[in-house]
């Protein structure tokens, strides 16, 4: 290689991109590996140990509603659209020569920015409702009964006994309101509480009484004792809102994965909303215009990445 050629290559070092854009893409590629690791571990846990007899929890068992996940996907897609439209308006405003046209495009950009922020808040609101349902039903890491050993069985019996006492013999108005069940379910609850108090029933049979024999995981099906029959309708079939714990094999692993993946994603959404909020404040101060085009493009890149992560999390958690 001649000296002349070497000099020429030096003159072309670096990527022909704004420094901010290059830095953001470098940040995004580290984020790709971060979320791939999380999703990879989820796949490892999900596909590694569960079997046909002891399957990974399906979305319904862990109180995940498909349409709520789809709604959040739609909300994020809409927010991705509004952020690119905000960028597009700023770009067009920069090219516009007519001041009235430029002002119109600038106010449109601010409007799209506001809608993006609102949609992000809707996403987090829906996520908060989902998280509340998990807390209400105690679908939390380390709090789910899996009936794997005697100690777990004993804890389960004590826990369900406490819940049944609140249903059958509520102590105050809160318990009366919060633990109320339908009449048909109440009769079964009374019967089950008596059996537990008399020490007549095993943890697995209690689980069957709550869920129904056909719905329990195969691993939880005990050898029938004499006189024990199949239970077509469990208490939860009679009243799906009854606050009664039931066994979810691999439920704790599922909850750990769910909260880790959706939690980190929600934190990313929150980060994006803070930045959008700052730009809205700048807009209120009259300091938001075509000069901010690159900044909005970079924030948009981050926001779209957050959208892409959800595009994979939604099917993995809610559908597949």
């Amino acid at each position: 290689m001649s000296h002349e050629a070497a000099d020429q290559s030096k003159a072309h070092m670096g990527l022909p991109l704004p420094n901010g854009k290059l830095a953001l893409w470098l940040f995004l590629v580290t984020e790709i590996t971060f979320f791939t690791a999380l999703i990879g571990v989820y796949m490892l846990l999900r596909n590694g140990q569960p079997t046909a007899a002891t399957p990974w929890p399906d979305p319904k068992t862990v109180h995940l509603v498909e349409w709520i996940g789809a709604l959040n996907t739609f909300v994020l897609i809409c927010s991705s659209l509004t952020v690119v439209l905000c960028h597009w308006c700023l770009h067009e405003a920069g090219k516009a020569t007519d001041p009235a046209e430029q002002a119109g495009l600038k106010s449109k950009a601010v409007m799209y920015l506001g809608i993006t922020l609102a949609l992000g808040l809707v996403f987090l609101g829906v996520k908060a409702v989902e998280y509340k349902a998990k807390f209400d039903h105690q679908i939390l890491p380390g709090r789910i009964f899996e009936l794997k050993n005697e100690a777990d069985n004993y804890r389960y019996l004590v826990h369900v006994r406490g819940q049944l006492e609140k249903i059958v013999k509520p102590k105050d108005d809160y318990e009366k309101k919060h633990y109320a069940v339908k009449d048909e379910a109440l009769a079964k609850c009374k019967e089950l509480l008596k059996k537990i108090e008399d020490g007549e029933v095993s943890a697995k049979r209690v689980n069957e009484t709550i869920v129904g024999t056909k719905k329990v995981a195969k691993c939880d099906t005990p050898v029938r004792r004499e006189g024990e029959s199949d239970i077509d309708k469990g208490i939860l079939d009679l009243d799906p809102d009854a606050h009664l714990a039931f066994s979810i094999p691999y439920g704790n692993l599922w909850a750990s994965c769910y909260f880790a993946m959706t939690g980190f994603h929600a934190i990313h959404v929150l980060g994006g909303l803070v930045v959008f909020g700052v730009y809205l404040v700048l807009a209120l101060l009259g300091r938001f215009g075509p000069d901010c085009e690159l900044d909005i493009e970079l924030t948009g890149l981050y926001w779209h990445f957050v959208d892409i992560v959800w595009i994979f999390l939604f099917p993995l958690l809610y559908l597949v």
Partner: protein, 116 residues
Amino acid sequence: MSEQHEEHAGPSFQAYMGVFYALCVCTALSFVVNYFVDHVMGQKLMSASIIMAVAVVKATLVAGIFMHLKFDWGKLYCIILPVCVVTVMMVIILSIDATLAWHASPESAVPMIQQK
């Protein structure tokens, strides 16, 4: 505030709207496939494959048009490609023990047990 402005051919307004509609259709498609292929027909593996393929299409649309990679790919591929290779490798490596497990193919494990 801005570092520098480069004149580049970005996507048009129509392109953005087109991608938005395509993303909505793809989301609805995932939902429908999950219902009919998984819940009604009981083909869990086929349903999962279609749904994940649709997710890849959606991600490609967002990255290509919304993130302007269609236009910036020539400048950024040297950063993005190595990471993509690493992520695909990671998923493959993390899938190995699941596919090697006996329960992944129980029918092949039965003769081994019978031989004993």
